[in-house]
């Protein structure tokens, strides 16, 4: 029965939100072809959700091992700045005519950026798996210092990029759809494959549920934990590229600010427990979409910015409640009692 499927509730929540938009936001589902690609609210949502989805995917595995990674935002900033600085390019005025020049070949720049991200992941991994620090503190270190590093590279300036091919990552279109979607799809497929076709999924869950048993069963717990942090940072790095490519610049101080919170939120909205163990990649994707749709809805409803937070919190509360079996039971009990009372009254 699909109603009992763990994914039912998150998906239902998403659908509900979309329905709301359908009613309140005129032309929300309206899609048109603009210079050769799809254009409309839904596309925007998917496009903007891309970085969050990536971060959430990485975070899912970390959380499955009973860990947490709050350095995601910092890693985003780092990879964004590294890429942007290397590609860079400056505008020079040649007798009044602005012209653009690029620095490093893009491939190298991207590799360097991802390399930096992997380094960050390795760092987190060593702290957690190697030294056995508590995940939240271990990653807190990078969360604080990472942004500092990024700003150190850029000297606190916003690095603006003038290099068309790079923009393609963030705002380019392929077969009418945003290119970032293909990136996300790729990463998702890869991860799902790893979980299905290899024993990785099983091992990660085991480590999350019962590390002692895992060790006695002969798992390399340390290696596994190390891996998930590296993976998480890699995802963060990639979303960093998308973000910076999208705004054609890298803002070391603001890029991916608080992204970690949204990512964790997405994972839990997707039905994965922060206590580790069973996890759902699809769930996390849905969770991310819920968040982005909500943000977008707030913008397009034209609500005053003061109440953004309240709305967001209320929705989160509701989604959580909708996922709590206990709440459902109590609700039922309440309803039946109400009915009974009516019966007596009659």
């Amino acid at each position: 029965m699909f109603v009992h499927h763990p994914l039912f509730r998150p998906v239902a929540a998403l659908v509900l939100l979309l329905m709301l938009d359908l009613l309140l936001v005129p032309g929300f589902f309206h899609l048109e072809i603009k210079d050769g690609h799809l254009y409309g609210s839904l596309i925007d949502i998917l496009n903007r959700a891309a970085p969050l989805i990536l971060a959430a995917l990485g975070m899912t595995l970390v959380i499955a091992t009973r860990g947490i990674d709050i350095s995601v935002g910092a890693v985003v900033a780092i990879s964004a700045t590294v890429a942007s600085m290397l590609i860079g390019g400056t505008m020079v005025l040649q007798d009044g005519v602005p012209t653009y020049v690029a620095n490093t070949p893009m491939v190298w720049a991207l590799c360097a950026a991802m390399g930096a991200a992997l380094l960050c992941g390795g760092w987190n991994g060593v702290l957690v798996a190697g030294l056995g620090l508590q995940p939240i503190v271990a990653t807190l270190i990078l969360m604080v210092a990472g942004r500092g590093l990024a700003q150190l590279f850029t000297d606190g300036q916003i690095i603006t990029v003038y290099y068309q091919p790079y923009f393609f990552l963030g705002s380019g279109y392929l077969f009418g759809l945003p290119f970032s979607l293909y990136l996300v799809g790729g990463v998702f497929a890869l991860t799902a494959l790893l979980m299905r076709k290899t024993a990785l999924g099983l091992f990660i869950q085991t480590v999350g549920v019962n590390p002692v048993a895992a060790r006695l069963a002969g798992l390399r717990t340390a290696v596994l934990i190390f891996f998930v942090y590296v993976f998480c940072s890699a995802c963060a790095g990639l979303s960093g590229l998308i973000i910076s490519a999208n705004i054609k610049s890298a803002d070391a101080n603001n890029a991916g600010l608080l992204l970690e919170l949204d990512a964790i939120l997405a994972v839990t909205l997707g039905g994965t427990s922060l206590a580790g163990g069973k996890f759902s990649l699809v769930g996390s994707v849905v969770g991310a979409l819920i968040i982005q749709t909500l943000t977008y809805t707030i913008y397009s409803l034209g609500l005053p910015p003061e109440i953004n937070m309240v709305v967001k919190s209320v929705v989160v509360f509701l989604v959580c409640l909708s996922q709590s079996a206990e709440f459902k039971n109590m609700w039922r009990a309440f309803r039946t009692r109400a009915k009974a009372n009516k019966g007596e009254a009659a």
């Binding site: 503190v137 500092g148 937070m309 309240v310 919190s313 959580c320 709590s324 206990e326 709440f327």
Partner: protein, 327 residues
């Protein structure tokens, strides 16, 4: 003899030991500062650590209860802001008597926490998410009250803010005193009352605690209520400190508090730790900041990096000590 060795091993590997390590390292940090910067070890600088971090200490105390019980509370920073906002609004705009205002905000904070605790326990929701939502809500409510900052010139608040309790040739603020009292009370509760022990039990193994017939529900709700109360109290201290209510106050304080608690030797996984650790944790963070302020040459980003590095060195040394002890 072997059992003695065993005991020694156990005790040194215990959070008790890590808390001691924290204190030792703190002393080291202060010593280093004193050596590097003239006037760093002056009494007033040390007292300022307490004055400037009084509000953080109070939050950290509440946070230790939550963390020891195996939970987490991200809403504290926002609740703090909300408290300052409400207090300011009540005394400045509605001209309510300050004490009434303070009582009200404390009640509101406590209720807010209790509500979250109830959701967490009865609906089996995850603390992280519930309190995260609580964090958004509290901030949001601030803006609903007003997006401007409100200056407080109410006499009581002002005097609380500007009174200086002489200590030797330095002085301490009333807030700092309140914070220390809170800490003392919390330590008593944690180690000498059934409620306090129940917190540890729940943190050790909630299901077992239930099976052993402890009032898990009541305990958990109370824990979050207490954390809410602490957040509100520190909000009051904060409004003494700043003499203003503002929706953007104390952003990210929840992380500082968590860091302080963990540095103080409490395990995030719950069950192990000491409320007293909160103090050492807070002082460590405070000292790091003071060091940077005294140095006075660091750019914004170097500030971040240095904080990170110091945190790192700290955690690693602490860890190494614990491991070395276990060997």
């Amino acid at each position: 003899m072997s059992s003695l060795a065993l005991r020694a091993r156990a005790s040194m590997a215990s959070p008790y030991f890590t808390s001691l390590a924290t204190v030792a390292l703190l002393a080291l940090l202060l010593g280093a500062g004193g050596a590097a910067y003239p006037g760093f070890l002056s009494l007033q600088v040390l007292l300022n650590l307490l004055i400037d971090n009084a509000f953080l200490l109070v939050i950290a105390v509440g946070m230790s209860f939550v963390i020891i019980s195996g939970g987490i509370d991200l809403s504290v920073g926002s609740v703090l802001a909300l408290t300052t906002m409400m207090a300011a609004w009540m005394v400045q705009v509605w001209h309510w008597p300050p004490l009434l205002a303070i009582v009200i905000v404390l009640l509101v904070g406590t209720g807010f926490g209790a509500l979250m605790g109830a959701m967490i326990h009865f609906f089996k929701l995850q603390p992280f998410i519930v309190t995260l939502a609580g964090m958004f809500l509290a901030r949001g409510l601030c803006y609903l009250i007003s997006i401007n900052s409100i200056t407080i010139d109410q006499p009581l608040f002002v005097s609380m803010s500007q009174t200086q309790l002489p200590v030797l040739d330095g002085y301490l603020s009333p807030s700092a005193l309140i914070a220390l009292l809170t800490l003392a009370a919390a330590i008593y509760v944690a180690h000498c009352t059934p409620f306090g022990r129940a917190i540890y039990a729940v943190g050790g193994n909630e299901q077992s605690a239930q099976m052993m017939g402890l009032r898990v529900a009541r305990t958990k709700v109370l824990i979050y209520a207490f954390s809410g109360f602490c957040a509100a109290l520190s909000g009051v201290l904060f409004s003494f400190y700043m003499l203003s209510g503002y929706g953007l106050h104390a952003q990210g304080t929840e992380l500082d508090a968590i860091a302080a608690v963990v540095i103080g030797g409490t395990l995030l996984s719950g069950g192990y730790g000491y409320v007293a650790g909160a103090l050492s944790g807070v002082l460590v963070l405070g000292t790091i900041q003071t060091l940077i302020a005294f140095d006075g040459t660091l750019s914004s980003w170097w500030t971040k990096i240095v904080i990170g590095v110091l945190l790192f060195v700290f955690c690693v040394v602490q860890r190494a000590l614990a491991l070395g002890a276990r060997r």
